[in-house]
Subunit: 425 residues, 2 copies
């Protein structure tokens, strides 16, 4: 494989003509492919389908003496609190099990801090321009919450060990307007990074200028390894306790990528005292979560072991897809000096970098060829990737046959965009 960057103009031109022909042929086929969202495929969803008819007997509708078809209970049924606590290595009183969306729990939590302050302190919105640290590349839905509440986002680079802690430590120590940091500690979206022990401990030992600083710990992929053993990272809640900041972390998780996307159960965890504050608001806000859907999950999974066994089946479906994609990236793009990517052991994404200023062009070429990718820039605050190079690849949703086509289309687009640029330069 020749490095594109070392090719002569003539070699590049002939490569361009070849690729352009290939690209036009793909376009002519009118494909409809999609690697844009971290959705499950139907084989994954089928694993949980028996959950849909597991509540057919009257005695299955009762939790702790409570008929779950009726009002009552605010923070989730005890069976699900236990399972979520076991997944997170916590105790049930540190857990709140809610509705179907952990994003909504994060949104609500930022919202209440804006309007009512952290633990009854001065509302953020009355303190001036609030700022959050956003490790990049990161998750666009986190960034959108910040944008919605007019929270200024400060990007900090993701290293292979997690966010660049030298920068994070200095920022939060110096600036009392920095009130939060978004973290996806295991199989980060999109970098696939697993935070190192040191990173977690340094986060827990932050000494923020703001006493109402919060770590938003989005544990979306906490048991979502598809290769090797589940990595064990230090428990952020226990580490913060040790560091004397027990109320600093807010942990979020969801069954959306365990059972059904968007029809599952979401949970949050924090100090018992923080949970009491959250429940005060929930009491005003809602009649309580859908307990029947929680029961459905509790009956189907039974306990932590049931969930982990289920995730092993999930891994068998996801691993070949990721390995196929990474293999094709290697064989089609390796050694050409035009791209880099990661090879994660879990999560739902591959983070892909083109040459500078080519992400938008590459995604546009994909679209022309019938392949939908996540919008270029989406992994950065305000949708602005300063080097316009990061693309998030989501291999889970297409069937295996579609995925094979999709990754070929993607590689042609990457190569064509690179050759165009090198020819133009």
């Amino acid at each position: 494989m020749a490095m594109y960057t070392e090719m002569t103009k003539e070699q590049l031109q002939s490569e361009h003509d070849l690729l352009k022909r290939e690209f036009d042929e793909i376009c002519a086929k009118g494909k409809k492919l999609d690697m844009s969202r971290g959705k499950m495929d139907s084989v994954q969803l089928d694993l949980s389908s028996p959950m849909l008819w597991c509540l057919s007997e009257k005695d299955e509708w009762v939790s702790n003496g409570m008929d779950c078809r009726n009002y009552g209970g605010l923070d989730g049924i005890i069976e699900m609190k236990q399972i979520v606590a076991d997944i997170l290595g916590l105790e049930p009183p540190e857990v709140i099990v809610g509705g179907n969306s952990s994003l909504e729990m994060m949104f609500d939590n930022v919202g209440v801090n804006m309007s009512h302050g952290v633990r009854g302190g001065v509302p953020w919105q009355k303190q001036g321009e609030i700022k959050f640290i956003c490790p990049v590349p990161g998750y666009d839905r986190h960034f959108r919450i910040c944008e919605y509440f007019h929270i200024k986002m400060i990007p900090v680079e993701m290293l292979p060990t997690g966010p660049d802690m030298d920068v994070v430590e200095k920022l939060v120590k110096d600036d009392p307007m920095i009130k939060g940091i978004w973290c996806v500690p295991l199989f980060s979206n999109p970098s696939g990074c697993v935070y190192s022990d040191e990173t977690v401990k340094r986060l827990a030992n932050l000494t923020p200028a703001a006493d109402d600083f919060r770590i938003y710990w989005d544990h979306a992929y906490c048991i979502h390894n598809f290769r090797g053993e589940l990595p064990v990272i230090p428990n952020i809640i226990r580490e913060c306790e040790k560091a004397g900041s027990p109320n600093m972390p807010l942990v979020f998780m969801s069954f959306s990528k365990i059972s059904f996307c968007g029809a599952a159960v979401a949970g949050m965890a924090s100090s018992k005292s923080n949970c009491e504050y959250v429940k005060e608001r929930m009491f005003v806000q809602t009649v309580g979560p859908n307990k029947m859907n929680q029961l459905r999950h509790a009956r189907f999974f039974e306990d932590l072991n049931g969930v982990l066994a289920h995730m092993k089946k999930m891994a068998e479906i996801l691993r070949p897809k990721f390995e196929h994609v990474v293999g094709k990236l290697e064989s089609n793009l390796g050694g050409k000096g035009i791209a880099e990517w990661n090879d994660p052991d879990g999560g739902y994404f591959i983070s892909f970098n083109t040459l500078d200023n080519l992400a938008k062009r590459t995604v546009a070429l994909c679209a022309e060829a019938g392949l939908t990718m996540t919008e270029a820039g989406a992994t950065f605050p305000y949708g602005i990737d300063p080097r316009d190079r990061n693309i998030r690849i989501a291999p889970s949703y297409p069937s295996f046959d579609e995925l094979k086509e999709a990754i070929e289309v993607f590689c042609v687009a990457v190569r064509l965009a690179a050759v165009e640029k090198l020819l133009g330069a």
Copy 2:
């Protein structure tokens, strides 16, 4: 039956001794009865239980080509949008079908207006002290939302036709800080009142000083008649359109008292344009509602006729309970000059007035005798009933046998409190 108010001191004393003995006997039995909340009893819940196993076939998981076990869709599946639209006499684009709690939709809606303003206008929280009109007696959860957001509540008397519109019209016309009114137009909580045509039309034709004034139309009991035909009141959305204020009303409804309390589906309706604003926020806030629970409802009820047939069965369960309670109130308390109550044709509550300053005492006596009632004062803003006389009776939850006992206990408590007062005076 003798009027207590016309009894001699001796007659009152002998009545007191009689009642006190009866009361002590009840207390000694150590009953545990509850008429405090508008919950369903298990017979009502059983009507919907087949819904729990109606999604057992793969082709039942698809709505409009979308696998409802996966992400996608923000404002509800088309089948449920159609059913909710038909219930409300509207079109699907005027409807958003959400999660399990209409209270949460109301809370969110007030919250977004506080923080982001109505349709992008000046946020309420930046305008000074916001006020809402609260018809009284009313629903405590509405009042709690106001309290949470520091919205000043202005009580306005409920008449048999709905809120006193002479007062409402003048208030909203004069005061630009009045931004909302809470309405439960059909079978009001707790008065059971059905708004007259004139009231609805006068509400639609309000000329508020605030151009960001909103009518919060909590249609919680929109098809919940248990006696006679369903009353037809003018459609608030159409009336507001006619009056040139198409964006003024926000309508909320829920299946919590149709299928399962707290495990059902909630909806809201407004102008198409308002719905677009709501969806902008929802896109930031959530991955979308639990579509599987919406499907479950759509498959079970099929259409409006299915829902209405279901509500007829509900009525057969509720009517005897309400008729028993009202009958007992009449036979035990009628003609004594110590209480008044309504006799609703639908909804979940009976509104009961003691003599002035006796509601708290009566509820306390009930508690002593093992009967839980809604806290006295709960039907007024800030929990303060200025005449301390209103008690909300919820006959639905106890079994018929328990209900028979509960209403006897209640009547003894009312009589005892009244005699105590008259003796003391």
